[in-house]
Amino acid sequence: MSQTTLPTIALGAEASDWIALLKPRVLTLVVFTGAIGLVIAPTHINPLMACIAILCITIAAGAAGAINMWYDRDIDAIMKRTATRPIPAGRVTPDAALAYGVFLAILSVVLMALATNLVAAATLAISIAFYVFVYTVWLKRRTPQNIVIGGAAGAFPPVIGWAAATGHITLLPILLFAIIFFWTPPHFWALSLYASGDYERAGVPMLPVVKGRRHTRICIAVYTLILVPITLIPFVLGLTGRIYGLAALALGAAFVAYAWRVLYEPQDATGKSLDRDRAARAAFKYSILYLFLLFGACAVDRLI
C-alpha cells in the first residue's frame, strides 16, 4: 500500500495536528494584548504568576479555536483555506477535537483561578463561552454582522490580563477592549474583500458576500473613523501619557489613509477591485501592525 492511500484516522494524528487545532497563528495577537493588560496594570504581580496568566489566556484561546474547528468542520471542508485542517482532512476525529477543546478550556480557567483570582478566571470563562456560543454557534452563519459582535471575543485578553494583575476591572481595560472591538471589523473585512470566494462557497454570510464589496469598503472606512477617536480616549482622560497619545494619533491617521485607499482604489460598479485587491491586502497587513504598535506604545508609556 502506498503512502498516499494510508488510512489517516487509523495511523493517528501527528503531534503537530493537535497544535494546529489551537490555531497558533491567531494566538500571537491574543498573547500580546493579554500581556499588555498585565504590564499596564498599576499593581505588582509575581512574574511567574504573570507568565502563568498569559499561558492560561493562550490555552483558553486555543481551546476556543479547537471547539470552533469542531463546530465548523462541515464548512471548513468546503473552503480551500481550511480544507487541510486536521478534522476535515481526517487526521483528527471530531469527537477527539471536541474533548480536547473542552478539556483545555476547563484546564485554563481552573489554572487561572489557582494562579491569580476569580475575576480573571470568570472573565476568561466568559471569553471562551462568547467565542464558542455567541460567535461560532449563533452569529457566524446567520448574519454579516458576525465579525462586529463576535469580535468582542478577541477583545477580552487585555481585560483578563488586567484582572489577573489587579483582581478587578476598571475603565482603561474596558477602553482597550473597545479598541480591539472596533478594530476587528475593518481588519477582517479587509481580508474578506479578497478571500470572500471561500466564504461564499461555504454559505458563510460575510459582508462582501451579502452586501457586496462596495458596501464593505464603506463599512471599513466608517469603522476606522470610529476607531481612531476611541483610541484617543485613554490619553484624553489622562489614563495614558503623551507617548501613547502621539502613537494613537499617528497610527490612526495612517489607518485612515489605508481605509481611504481601500474605499477609492480602482474598482468596477460592484466594488470589485481592478488592482488585484492591492489596497485591501495592504490595509489588512497594516491593521495587524497597527494593533501591535498601539498596544506596544501603551505599554512603553506605562513603563517609562
Partner: protein, 61 residues
Amino acid sequence: MPLDPMPKTVAVPSGWSAEMQTEYKRRRRGRNLLLLAALAGFCIIIYAIAIVKLHEYGQMW
C-alpha cells in the same frame, strides 16, 4: 514471580506494510512526547503556583 517486562516493540495493527508501520510508530512517538511535555509542564505549573502562593501569602487559597 518476576514482573512482565515492557514490550520491546510497538504493537501495530496486523496486515500493514513496513512503510505504514514506521509511519504509525513515528506518529505515536510524536504524540507521546507531546503528551509527556504537557503533563510535565502541568506538574511544574502547579508546583510553581503552590510555592509562590505559600511564599507570598502563606496559604494556597
